[in-house]
Symmetry: C2
Subunit: 428 residues, 2 copies
């Protein structure tokens, strides 16, 4: 860390600014904190506004107090304005360096203005026409459109007349990403309730946001808290914290299976053969649940489904679950009869090694497995598909409905279904 | 479908072109196939090259034969050139409509050229300086840079002198996305082995590609084949195919647990109490495995880890697994002793309801669960973290290492570890 600080101090200033203007540089905040205030302050002042905020977020309270008085007034103002927004909101990733012009300008005036101030702007390709008094957003034109018209054209004559697409600063960055992607924008204006221009979210920020969201999603789906650091950088303690929390919750949930199994202990004693298929039965419920969960998580994230559509999902998942369950049930049924057959006729070495004798009631055992699988897979599909809806309903991230979470929910029910079927068919 | 065709025929031409130039419009290919050739051909000719290719991919062989002769020669040429590349490659999503200029032009000439042809180009913000004879890519400048310099500046004097970043057409679209995101590009040039310019991949295409990749990843992690259609659009048969395949494979893999349980049937008969904790033990292995799998999948996707780093992961996962296993083991140990205590002292209704009597050897049972959990969680973490490496090594997508896949792998081993520990501690 200290060594990194010395390297930065020795770099040409322009290069250092370029380096720190990229979110890809790991631990930027820590490195800047290591620098002397005389080196750090001008560096931070020279960064783009969104990167200043990102750095600022990474500093320790002491670092902030140390550095803040040495920053330019404009930088402090930006930090104060932007730090109000949560890091994963449009306001949290926006920048205030956009090209804003009055409605009276001509195309030539815009080109001259860009030639003058273009270097300092995050993008010059989206141009925002603002009311000079109120600073409200009136229209958005693109530099391409400006290039295509005669120089004397007034900017309000350029492009189409539709109201510009904009977002509230508190909108989630994923929703901002969706708008940028849907309308193929280069930047998305962020406005307040009075349509006053606050800043822009650029396509670069959105790509970075999409990549982070994807990482978060994959980690949550794996049944753990999302981590910011890369795998090799995270400290062992942090790793245990991020994984241990969820693992312990899932474990405690899963102890309910021991509870359930306790109630069926008597049944197991009567027919130990039942215990052989417990892992098979409950994992099938978990697997089908995990499939429907991942389908629904994605459909919700892409707005293909809304909360109100839950019943459409129910009427699709029940037949799907029944069909999949019947398929697995049939495989299980054949598997049991086949192995029983192997155990009775030892005519091949292969059969002798594989064969398992399930006792005199092997046919009833096979039927029990068949019937339970239909029930368990259908229940799994249904529970797995409803979980993301329930999480969304309670304003939680549907991506938290990880495969392990679904499996834990479905395991107890799977056991209950299996032993209920066994009581009717096998243990009368 | 037919109705959609009639609607399109009735639309103003410009609006129809805008509509079909967006990949968001579902089933575009089918709708265009429904149109009469006289309506469809000019519409397709007017689309951007990358969208022409995407539409063309969606057509049936009959549709292609019907429409192809009526398209302009230039469109047919584009289709022939671009259809050579796989849909998920840079070549498959690139467009041939970029701004290419000779090295001798001035900034003013570039601006005049853009004013003239800009409308037809996918982007005018990235400008490619090409060798006029060979069509090889020499430099990339941005329109912003052109705007900042005096009009008489020769383009080779603009911007920095570094060799432009470019990709081979066969590079995966995800790698192209990574380059665009890393270098904050608006477009990425695609060149052949001789650095001849083939086309550009724009940031819009990349966002669309990222979103599709994310959907694919989430679905694969849920243990199913990726689907293209949205949840409510996919036909029931297609849904069964995409889910049933993986579900059946996982089920057959999971039947190994029944095989394993068969070998331990004798142990279960001797101590039925052992069966109570089977779901708990194996699911803990699956959960910890699913966590490390998702961590490694993401680290590999972001190039934070390469194949050679597998041993770094091993030396991190073993202590992590031991620590997490000890934690879960301790919870399990306390849980067993507590419930045993409840069952012995019925002084509360709560205790009476919860209590479970694990027999005279309850302490040994608790120790068996404790010890097995350490082994199972450590093995799960290790197996889960290695699986994505193995898949990548065999050129398969690491994201196929879904939580259900990992759980299936780990379940049999979990049973073996559990019964091995039980044989030593409990069943001597």
């Amino acid at each position: 860390m200290e060594a990194a600080g010395r390297v930065v101090s020795a770099l040409p200033f322009e290069l250092a600014v370029q380096l720190f203007d990229e979110p890809e540089l790991g631990r930027r905040g820590e490195i800047v904190e290591q620098l002397s205030v005389a080196v750090a302050a001008p560096l931070v002042d020279a960064l783009s506004a969104d990167q200043q905020v990102e750095l600022y977020r990474e500093w320790s309270p002491e670092g902030r107090t140390k550095l803040l008085p040495f920053l330019q007034a404009a930088t402090r103002e930006t930090l104060r304005a932007l730090m109000n927004y949560p890091p994963a909101s449009a306001g949290g990733i926006m920048t205030t360096e956009y090209v804003g012009i009055p409605a009276t300008w001509t195309a030539d005036a815009v080109k001259r203005y860009i030639a003058e101030v273009g270097e300092a702007k995050e993008t010059v390709y989206a141009i925002y026409i603002l009311d000079p008094a109120e600073n409200t957003l009136q229209r958005v034109i693109s530099l391409r459109e400006v290039m295509l018209v005669p120089g004397s054209t007034v900017v309000t004559e350029i492009g189409d007349d539709r109201a510009p697409i904009s977002v509230d600063p508190l909108v989630d960055r994923e929703d901002a990403a969706r708008l940028i992607s849907k309308y193929n924008l280069l930047a998305l204006p962020v406005v307040d309730d009075h349509r006053r221009m606050l800043g822009i979210v650029t396509v670069d920020d959105i790509i970075d946001a999409l990549v982070s969201e994807q990482t978060e999603d994959v980690q949550k789906l794996g049944g753990m808290a999302a981590i910011d650091e890369s795998y090799l950088q995270i400290t062992p303690l942090e790793m245990l914290r991020k994984r241990g929390g969820w693992l312990a919750i899932l474990f405690v949930g899963e102890t309910l299976t021991a509870q359930a199994m306790g109630y069926f202990q008597h049944e197991i004693e009567r027919a130990v053969v039942l215990s052989l298929f417990i892992p098979l039965i409950i994992s099938s419920g978990g697997n089908s649940g995990s499939q429907s969960t991942s389908l629904i998580i994605r459909a919700l994230a892409l707005n293909e489904l809304s909360l109100r559509d839950w019943w459409r999902v129910v009427i699709r998942e029940i037949p799907t679950g029944l069909a999949l369950g019947t398929m697995l049930g049939a495989i299980g049924f054949c598997r049991i009869l086949l192995w029983q057959f192997f155990s009775m006729k030892h005519w091949t070495l292969f059969g002798a090694a594989l064969g398992q004798n399930y006792g005199p009631h092997y046919m009833t055992v096979a039927l029990t497995v068949f019937t339970s699988l239909i029930g368990v897979v259908t229940f799994g599909s249904l529970a797995g598909s409803m979980l993301p809806f329930i999480l969304r309903r309670f304003k939680l991230d549907p991506a938290s409905a990880s495969a392990p979470f679904v499996a834990t929910l479905v395991d107890v029910t799977g056991l209950v279904i299996y032993f209920a079927v066994a009581s009717v068919l096998l243990l009368r």
